[in-house]
Amino acid sequence: MPAYILELIVVGLGLILLLLESFLPRLGAKGLAAIGSVGLLVVLFLLPSVTGAPSESTGIIWKFYSADSLALFYKGLALITTILVLMMSVVYVPVMQRYLGTGGGVGEYLILPVFTCAGLMWMASANDLTSIFVSLEVVTIGFYIMVAYMRRNVGSLEAGVKYLILGAVSTGFLVYGIAFLFGVTGQTNLDVISTVLGLLEGQDKIILFSFALLLVAFGFKVAAVPFQMWVPDVYQGAPTPTAAFLSVGSKAAGFIVLSRIVDAFLGDHGVQTGDGSYQDQIQRVLLVVAGATILFGSLAAIPQTNFKRLMAYSSISHAGFILLALACAYPVRMDMASGEVVAFYLAAYLPMTMAAFFVLCIVRSSRGEEEISVLDGLGKRSPFLAFVLLVSVMGLAGIPLTVGFLGKLYVFQAALDQGHFVLLAIATLGAAAGFYYYFKVVRSMYWNAPSDQDAIAVGTGSRVLLALLAAAIIFLGLNQGIILGFLR
């Protein structure tokens, strides 16, 4: 059955949840989340059986909606992320209560991710400028609300305002970029655009201009360097599940659309031929941005003391690595196209960040603030949590035998393949700095004495989930065939 049915199912699920929430108040957050995740699991199982564009593709819909393997992979990612966020929100509810006052509204906080997930899935398969714009907007509006959800917590509101204003500006630039691209090529479908761009000559300036505008928009979305100012504040202010969702969901979606656009612009002009064509310029821009992002992300993370801000900076530096992979468009000696390297890295990035945020969720819900010192002596207080966090931090730092290492390995291989040595040096510096600030977390967990002795209650559900995540980090690290299998 055609792919776009999936999104409809998800929206339907959202509507049902909405109704349940209003008519069966006693269901409570846990019930809602349970139903939500079950529904999403069903959709996840349906995913492989979905058919792509029928061969004769008469239907007009396929002009706007592509269902190639990459899109299906990202849909899978989006679904898994949302399920995890739902679980996290259940754990996070007690903290939310404190900030929502008696006005309630916790229920909606569980429904919004479902709708945003639909948006993410649309984004994954959007290969037309308009559908990109609309699906992007569905996701961003969803995030505006989720970020500013805790209306009584001043941090959350502040983050919301910042995210909204800067988000709106980036949407403005996005529309402007689309306008110019539409102006030059007259088409809105990416594949057609790439062919038209190949034929155009003499218009390099305008093409580059539109690409720059689009890069501004997606740079913001993905937190690349010139536009990553918002990331630390929003991650710190927003409720932890939203921060997790932002760091994984929106980044993944941003990257898939960006990779689609870069493919459209570069066409088959993979290797940098250095003949001054605009494709080279694009690659050069991407390289510069990637380098700057890695540098900024890893160096700024060093003096951090707040765990969420640390995760924010680490997500910036990871974005840098992915941008680096993106910049090496067609690695010659590797059979993985840069799109697949990006997908693999994101798939690797997902469990690690989710596990880290999940642990923070549990710890924060019992302790309050999110400084790294809150993790002090976690090793003694609840060894299980400490172990999970250790595994995820090792993954983020890229220690071998974890999936993070494999992700970085492929990025390094792609960069080596194209011979970007300066970038390699910066990447090594970034990874090394990574050792430093991730080790700070381990240090505080195992070396510092716990400030208060009470063991942290870890619900059975979250314990199972965390174990699953930790296993995923290590298991996928050992044999990467699994992820590649999905990708093919």
Binding site: G219, M229, A433
Partner: protein, 597 residues
């Protein structure tokens, strides 16, 4: 009954003592004496046969490198082995009594057997690497023996000093071996000889001289020649039988033995020979001068050993190994005798070593006095004693080869006679200068029997039939009246002068500071070690901490920290600043993409 047994016996005794009789001193003493006596017996048994065999293959790397523990039992080895085992046995017997009440007797005898094992190893070695192995083992055993009473700070320091100076010598020795190996591809003596015989000498003369000098450097370290002689006087800290065995007869002689072993190499490059000769001569003169002003009986004997060794090295340098070996044999006997005698005196005077506190022992210890007297006569080459014949040979060769050296040799002979007679007069004649000396009585039988045997040997060893028996290849020197006359005159003058000056004097009549404290060698070396080595080490440590640690590593961490804070300061949290930076970012990005091609 192969030479390998010689090697195994002492090793066996070391193992037995270490594992078995560690707890009982006397038992281990007996085991070690038995082993040394056994090896003496085996040496005598094998006196006639000439054989060389490979006991074990140590390193075998295909055709590239072949190093094995081989034994070479020829004339030279037999002679040396006889001396080593004979003196060894006598010293063992002597130290049975001397060390009776020492609490670590087991360890003492264990080390003695270890020393005998390594000494045998050097003598029997048939290749340079094996010789180097036992060379170092001898160094270690002398370290252990000198530092026997290690609770005494001075003994511990002396042991350390001895080992390190030896090690410096070994440094040169090893480089010599490496050069030879590099040149010829083989390490065994026979291999080297045929290589030399094969006419390659011309090709790398310079290198050969360098290699020879390096090997000589090893000998300098071991036989305590000029620059590296500082450790021998301090080595007297060890028990006297040890000094007798190691610092008279065997270990110091090992250097000379090695030089004779590679004699063919020294002939190949005469410049090396000359240098060796001059170093030998210079050491002899230097040591003799220093000996005249020493007060400690053992130090005097130590310096006399130094000067005699100088003689031997000089002669080897001048080309005749046989004369050197002959003098080595005779010297071994009478020097061991003198040392054991000194040991007896010290034992009798309750460990008193300063000669000015002794005196009048002639009457109290007649037998020791007699033996000691004979030893002294042999040392100062009194006619028809063993010393006379061997020194005669040396002087004769020196006369033929190098006139200047002959003069030095003569001067040294005079000085030897002078300080030996000084020693004899002050210790034995006149009145006892301290109550210890007052009621010194003759030592027990076990102690003076070895003295007598040695005395007999030191007289007899010079004559031809006995020398032949001792496998010493008599140098083909013919009787030369002039040489005889010169040596006789110097001997009489020296002895007379010594006798006259020191007859019943209470203290040293004229102290020559320069000689008294040994040409300030020790102070110079001490300064060098303190400033050069430790100072440099301290400076290097400082530099290392400053540059590599501070600058490189610390620098980078500070840099990253700084940049991190810089970035952090940028994010102030103020929305307008963000939007401003956002705007600037957009401007830069667009400008870069569109316009910068």
């Amino acid at each position: 009954m192969s030479p390998a047994l010689l090697l195994l016996l002492p090793l066996l005794s070391v193992v037995v003592i270490f594992f078995g009789t560690k707890w009982s001193g006397t038992l281990s003493a007996l085991v070690s004496v038995a082993s040394v006596a056994g090896s003496l017996g085996v040496t005598l048994a094998l006196f006639s046969t000439d054989s060389s065999m490979v006991a074990m293959n140590w390193i075998a790397l295909g055709d590239v490198l072949q190093v094995d523990i081989g034994l070479r039992w020829d004339r030279l080895a037999r002679g040396m082995m006889f001396v080593v085992t004979l003196v060894g046995t006598l010293v063992h017997v002597f130290s049975l009594a001397y060390m009776r009440e020492d609490e670590a007797k087991a360890r003492y005898f264990g080390c003695l057997s270890l020393f005998m094992f390594s000494m045998t190893g050097i003598v029997l070695a048939d290749n340079l690497v094996m010789m180097f192995i036992f060379w170092e083992l001898v160094g270690v055993s002398s370290y252990l023996l000198i530092g026997h009473w290690f609770t005494k700070a001075s003994a511990a320091d002396a042991a350390k000093k001895a080992f390190i100076t030896n090690r410096i010598g070994d440094f040169g020795f090893l480089i010599g071996i490496l050069m030879l190996f590099g040149l010829t591809g083989t390490v065994s003596f026979t291999g080297l000889e045929n290589w030399l015989a094969g006419g390659h000498a011309g090709a790398s003369a310079g290198l050969l001289t360098a290699a020879a000098l390096c090997l000589f450097c090893g000998a300098v370290g071991k036989s305590a020649q000029a620059p590296l002689h500082v450790w021998l006087p301090d080595a007297m800290e060890g028990p006297t039988p040890v000094s007798a065995l190691i610092h008279a007869a065997t270990m110091v002689a090992a250097g000379v033995f090695m030089l004779v072993r590679v004699g063919f190499l020294i002939e190949a490059s005469e410049t090396a020979g000359l240098v060796i000769a001059w170093v030998g001569g210079f050491t002899a003169l230097l040591a003799a001068l220093m000996a005249t002003q020493q007060d400690d009986i053992k130090k005097i004997l130590a310096y006399s050993t130094l000067s005699q060794l100088g003689y031997m090295v000089m002669v080897v340098g001048l080309g005749s190994g046989e004369a050197a070996m002959f003098h080595l044999y005779t010297h071994a006997f009478f020097k061991a005798l003198l040392f054991l005698g000194a040991g007896a005196i010290i034992y009798a005077c309750h460990h008193e070593q300063n000669i000015w506190k002794m005196g009048g022992l002639k009457t109290r210890m007649p037998i020791t006095f007699a033996a000691f007297g004979i030893g002294t006569l042999a040392l100062i080459a009194f006619p028809f004693t063993s010393g006379f014949f061997s020194k005669e040979a040396i002087l004769d060769i020196a006369l033929h080869e190098n006139k200047l050296l002959f003069l030095i040799a003569a001067g040294v002979a005079f000085l030897t006679a002078f300080y030996m007679s000084r020693l004899l007069v002050v210790t034995f004649l006149g009145a006892p200068r301290s109550e210890h000396a007052g009621h010194a009585k003759e030592v027990s039988v076990i102690m003076f029997v070895p003295l007598l045997i040695l005395a007999f040997l030191s007289v007899v060893a010079g004559y031809k039939p006995v020398a032949e028996l001792l496998q010493a290849q008599l140098p083909d020197v013919h009787w030369n009246w002039f040489v005889f006359f010169v040596s006789l005159a110097t001997m009489l003058a020296g002895a007379g002068l010594g006798f006259l000056r020191y007859l019943d004097k209470r203290s040293e009549p004229k102290v020559i500071p320069v000689l008294a404290n040994k040409f300030y060698f020790d102070e110079a070396y001490g300064w060098a070690v303190r400033n050069l080595q430790d100072g440099l080490a301290w400076v290097v440590r400082g530099l290392d901490a400053l540059f590599i640690d501070g600058l490189a590593v610390g620098g980078i961490t500070r840099l990253t920290e700084g940049v991190g804070c810089l970035f952090r300061r940028v994010i102030t949290g103020n929305l307008q600043a963000y939007s401003y930076l956002f705007g600037v970012g957009v401007f830069v990005l667009i400008y870069f993409t569109v316009f910068l091609r």
